[in-house]
């Protein structure tokens, strides 16, 4: 082989390698480091399916300001309404670019809770306002909710120690005193 051909080959390989490294670095950067399995929780039928589902972009983007709430906690109609109004997201601008939205919304839809049986005018956006959430937490006193260690009903992890791993099992519940 001619010298310049060899040189070109080496240079080409190095360029490819660096290119590949950049692609990996980019993915790591944008999608976070946690990669969890997508197995479904079996302890609670119906609406709890999709609680353990995970997607790297969803995790990275949705956990920037709060816990990445699992797709199985709201029906698809709610997620669609929420993803369509991210510029006014509970009082803040949480807008995402099209690339991120195109990955996150289908993931949420595919793992969403069943639609409510009774037709409702507006999709519920707050998980804590779903009838399912209220039913599951009806034994929690108002004094407990006001505990500064809990601060808000949206703060799952205050009591559900495994919430960020997609587990809301009663065995892992520790209500702070």
């Amino acid at each position: 082989m001619q010298t310049w051909k060899k040189l070109a080959l080496v240079v080409g390989s190095v360029a490819l390698l660096i290119g590949a490294m950049q692609v990996f670095a980019y993915e790591d950067d944008e999608e976070g480091e946690e990669h969890e399995g997508s197995e479904h929780s079996s302890y609670h039928a119906g609406s709890m399916q999709g609680v353990r589902a995970s997607n790297a972009t969803w995790k990275a983007e949705c956990s920037a300001c709060h816990m990445a709430y699992p797709p199985g906690l709201l029906p698809a109609s709610s997620w669609q309404a929420m993803m369509g109004s991210l510029d006014k997201h509970f009082g803040t601008d949480a807008s995402l670019d099209e690339t991120a939205l195109k990955e996150i919304l289908p993931f949420l839809e595919a793992n969403a809770a069943p639609e409510p049986k009774k037709a409702i005018a507006e999709p519920v956006l707050r998980i804590t306002e779903t009838s399912w959430f209220k039913r599951q937490h009806d034994e929690i006193s108002s004094a407990t909710w006001k505990n500064p260690k809990i601060k808000s009903a949206s703060n799952c992890i205050a009591c559900h120690s495994q919430a960020e791993q997609g587990s809301f099992d009663e065995d892992s519940v520790r209500i702070p005193r």
Partner: protein, 138 residues
Amino acid sequence: MSKITRITQALACVLTLLTTTVHAETPQDFLTTFQTAAKAADANFQGFSVTRGEQFFKTTHGNDWSCSSCHTSNPATVGKHASTGKAIDPLAPAANPERFTSTRKVDKWFKRNCNDVLSRECTALEKGDILTFLMAIK
């Protein structure tokens, strides 16, 4: 064409390819971009200011939150989201080398946070002042 010319051309091609595909940027790159935009917006642009950036960062602009509501008045320390309480990694590049290294992230957060703090986008002058203040923190 001589061998040397061909090799030089091949190397030039690879270098061009590399520089155009490099993803990671530096805080200085963003400062340069903001500077160009600030000059274009105002012919009398005199440069960015640490003092102005600090002032902007720590005061409110008509809404409840300032930048420091979440990033604290010392952006070299861990911040806390003003409504959710979630920890926010330090914003000053000296304390967190990941900051200001991705255009996608920088654009995303300036858009969101300026909207929250000012109900509008930030100007290039404001962005440059903020970054100058952040880069001055050691």
